[in-house]
């Protein structure tokens, strides 16, 4: 019960921050990768080019796809805008063999989930995809599994080039 209340409180606390957060998020530590338009493309895409069938899950949050709950610690280009989906790497790329993990709160069922942020690897970044940068519960490299500044393609054998990032629910947070 306490957890649920905390959760609701957190969301209330957050409501006022949405505006600044969207802007603030535009300076991620991988965000230098996002060069579309010369300016950093943060949570709010300058020219969001979303496959029509993907808009659904952003609709509830004012159209800001990065604000979608499971992107709470995502730092990278969305694979779903370059031929992949929320949970699948685009064709011809390789999923990272390691990943960082976020703990995100799903407002639809009020549960916290562990989300694995895998990078997809082996192709050059597609600057037309939205670049998201959020860091809830993110920690520096001394908590490597929570660290979103690093290229998680690092452990792949052949495909170590960073391409894009997916967010995969791996279970409920306990």
């Amino acid at each position: 019960m306490t957890k649920l209340i905390d959760t609701i409180l957190n969301r209330l606390d957050r409501a006022a921050e949405t505006g600044s957060r969207a802007q603030a998020r535009s300076h991620g530590r991988r965000s230098f990768l996002a060069r579309l338009g010369g300016t950093i493309v943060g949570a709010v895409a300058v020219t969001p080019i979303l496959p029509f069938d993907r808009r659904a899950h952003a609709a509830g949050e004012g159209g800001d796809i990065c604000a979608y709950w499971r992107n709470c610690a995502l730092d990278g280009y969305l694979c779903e805008e370059t031929g992949g989906s929320m949970t699948s790497c685009p064709v011809g790329s390789e999923a990272s063999s390691v990943s960082w993990v976020g703990t995100c709160h799903n407002p639809e069922d009020e549960r916290d989930y562990l989300v694995s942020y895998n990078d997809c690897c082996g192709k050059a970044m597609n600057n037309t995809a939205t670049f998201c940068f959020r860091s809830e519960r993110e920690r520096p490299g001394y908590r490597m599994g929570l660290y979103n500044d690093i290229n998680w393609c690092m452990a792949n054998t052949d495909a170590q080039g960073y391409y894009c990032t997916v967010s995969v629910v791996v279970g409920q947070a306990t």
Partner: protein
């Protein structure tokens, strides 16, 4: 803090209510996968070339410009698509330290459906390090051979035997540039700095002789040809700096100029062609489309276009002058209804062409910010 305490009290009630209602089942653990094929439908390929890192070839829907994926060759990537539209080739360069160090040049063959490299063929490290153009990389002789333009700056053409997966020959083409693949047989024609065209043929063993050289066809000083032309049946049509169309028959032993058409005669405003892939042809209706700009001057031949001209090739008649979006690259999709793609700035533009309205080009779609697209390709 006081606010928070007050809220806690209120929300305890709300939370209790929420819990009493139906709670959805938790999300099942998901599995990370890799897509097995690009989205279905016809594709448009667009090269975003890099000179200091990996290039990108974007694959977008030919109908809706939806992003389907991309493949990433090396620097100064050239591109050619096979007729079936299922295999893409790119020739590009890798320096050991990206911007310095020993160069390796390769042809990568990509399977379009899986957007994957299916093989890599090393070729002489002489590829012309130039912005991608159709004439720099071709398939010829029923796609048995792949041709790549070299420049060191001495020019030559690397012939790759695709069945064998290896280089068959390197044919010197001194003073000449661009390859026009013959409609049939192991042959290409190239445009030379003395105003002639030269046709080269080779044998299956890689042997080749002297080229068959035409009479002087054009004046490189007085009215130079743009090197990316349009295939019109047995003919190739090239635009010139001054606005003439040169029709060259490359089907015989020796290339022959069959006609020169003054496209801008009677048009005010000193219009001239401009761009790189500036001319494209819709075979079904016999219509050429050419990127044009007004107030032309010496040196403006690569400036932004201001118009797209529709030209009836049979009737030798200018049909319509549509406004362009500054493109320097055009590509016609060969469907029944003409559909025209333009690339310029950092965008791709789509035009519907109306044969009932003298082939006016109506701008109907844009992929803004896709990158600096130097060349596009699409299967028929």
């Amino acid at each position: 803090m006081i606010l928070r305490t007050a809220l806690t009290v209120t929300l305890s009630g709300l939370a209790a209510q929420a819990m009493a209602q139906d709670v959805p089942a938790p999300i099942e653990p998901e599995t990370l996968t890799v897509e097995e094929a690009i989205a279905p439908g016809p594709n448009l390929f667009a090269v975003d070339s890099s000179w200091s890192g990996a290039s990108n070839i974007f694959i977008v829907g030919a109908d809706d410009l939806a992003m389907k994926g991309n493949v990433s060759p090396g620097m100064q990537a050239l591109m050619v698509l096979n007729d079936a539209g299922d295999t893409l080739f790119s020739a590009s360069n890798y320096l050991e330290r990206i911007v310095y160090g020993t160069r390796t040049s390769v042809v990568q063959e990509f399977d379009v459906q899986t957007a994957s490299v299916t093989r890599e063929i090393e070729i002489p490290a002489k590829i012309a390090m130039v912005e991608v153009q159709p004439g720099l990389m071709s398939l010829v002789d029923d796609e048995k051979y792949l041709l790549v333009q070299n420049a060191t700056p001495a020019t030559s053409v690397t012939v790759v035997d695709l069945a064998a997966g290896e280089v068959l020959a390197e044919i010197p083409t001194p003073g000449c540039w661009i390859m026009i693949p013959a409609v049939t047989g192991p042959k290409f024609t190239t445009i030379c700095g003395d105003g002639t065209f030269a046709s080269f043929t080779w044998g299956a063993d890689g042997s080749f002789g002297d080229p068959a050289r035409s009479e002087v066809i054009f004046d490189p000083d007085g009215d130079a040809l743009f090197t990316n032309g349009a295939r019109v049946g047995e003919m190739m049509v090239f635009a010139s700096y001054e606005g003439n169309l040169f029709v060259v028959d490359d089907s015989g032993d020796v290339p022959v100029l069959t006609e020169t058409i003054a496209m801008t005669d009677g048009i005010d405003g000193n219009f001239a062609p401009t761009g790189s892939e500036l001319i494209t042809y819709h075979a079904g209706t016999g219509t050429l489309f050419v990127l044009m700009h007004g107030d032309a001057y010496d040196g403006s031949h690569k400036d932004e276009s201001t118009e797209i001209w529709a030209y009836d090739f049979e009737a030798r008649e200018l049909l319509y002058r549509s406004n362009s979006n500054g493109e320097n690259s055009l590509l016609m999709a060969q469907g029944e209804t003409p559909r025209l793609y333009g690339a310029g700035g950092d965008s791709i533009y789509v035009y519907d062409i109306d044969p009932g309205a003298r082939f006016a080009a109506r701008h109907v779609d844009t992929f803004e910010g896709i990158g600096s697209i130097s060349m596009m390709a699409t299967a028929e």
